[in-house]
Symmetry: C2
Subunit: 138 residues, 2 copies
DNA sequence: ACGATAATAGTAACCGTTACGGTTTGTTGC
DNA sequence: GCAACAAACCGTAACGGTTACTATTATCGT
């Protein structure tokens, strides 16, 4: 997702354009990986040393709900990344070393819904963990 | 997994048979669902009102490492259930209403490893969330 | 039954997250 | 551009699940 798309979604929902949100989106647009709330906070504190946790978490949660960010839980902490392809449903390989991700086009749900007749499927999570080629060679 | 199998694994690893562990295993053997650490604590407190968090978490972690329990993270809390089939790799549908689970035999990794040449896969998570037939009809 | 050592109780610290009251900032209509 | 209103923010404290520590107790091989 581009910055322009993100800002369009925000303005459509009457969210204001603030310096904090600019910094936050800029940070995510430059990283192709899941980032913890603390990593986000540390980056934003460079521009704005007194930034509040309230601001960090409120915006991360809002952006996640709007589909601007993707969220997942790694090691008991909330992690976020820029929504990479809102149109096409997909999953991720996540490098446990550097955190970088790689999209997986295949979705297992296609072949499974038949196995769950009588059940109401609301969602699913499919993530693969391991080492990416760069981290393997180091 | 049966209680006997669990105790065999424990004794093989020189873990002692204690009242707390008996209560804990009994509780899991009677529930076909993921239970939070707090649910476990509340149950065990009936027998042993002064039970320590240390005891709860140490045993849950130990049992999980030994493969007696399965562990997953739901809503930011650690949840555990009796290992249902240690031999055959499988995944779960998890009812978001009652917490009960249903095994899914199909594993998506079989069809995906080819897509990840150059990557070192260490693990994966595949969970389906929704409502089970019983909760739908209520 | 004894002694070595694992297991536990009681309690406090830890850490990521959430919540709150008061202040500042962005936007909208003039 | 300015006022007014609501949204967004800061500073800080509370919260909840988890982890850690020390002294005490229980288990098990001998």
């Amino acid at each position: 997702m581009t910055l322009d798309e993100a800002w369009r979604i925000l303005s459509e929902h009457q969210f204001k354009r603030t310096k904090n949100r600019e910094t936050l989106l800029e940070y995510f647009s430059e990283h192709d990986k899941y980032l913890s709330a603390m990593e986000v906070r540390n980056f934003m504190a460079q521009d704005n040393p007194g930034i509040s946790y309230d601001t960090i978490y409120r915006n991360l949660t809002t952006f996640s709900e709007l589909g601007i960010l993707e969220e997942t839980e790694l090691n008991g902490e909330r992690h976020f990344r820029m929504q990479c392809d809102a149109k096409n449903h997909h999953h991720h390989f996540i490098c446990t070393e550097c955190g970088k991700t790689r999209s997986i086009s295949h979705c297992p749900m296609e072949t499974i819904t038949g196995e769950l007749s009588g059940y109401e499927v609301e969602g699913h999570k499919f993530e693969i963990y391991g080492k990416c080629p760069i981290c393997i060679s180091q």
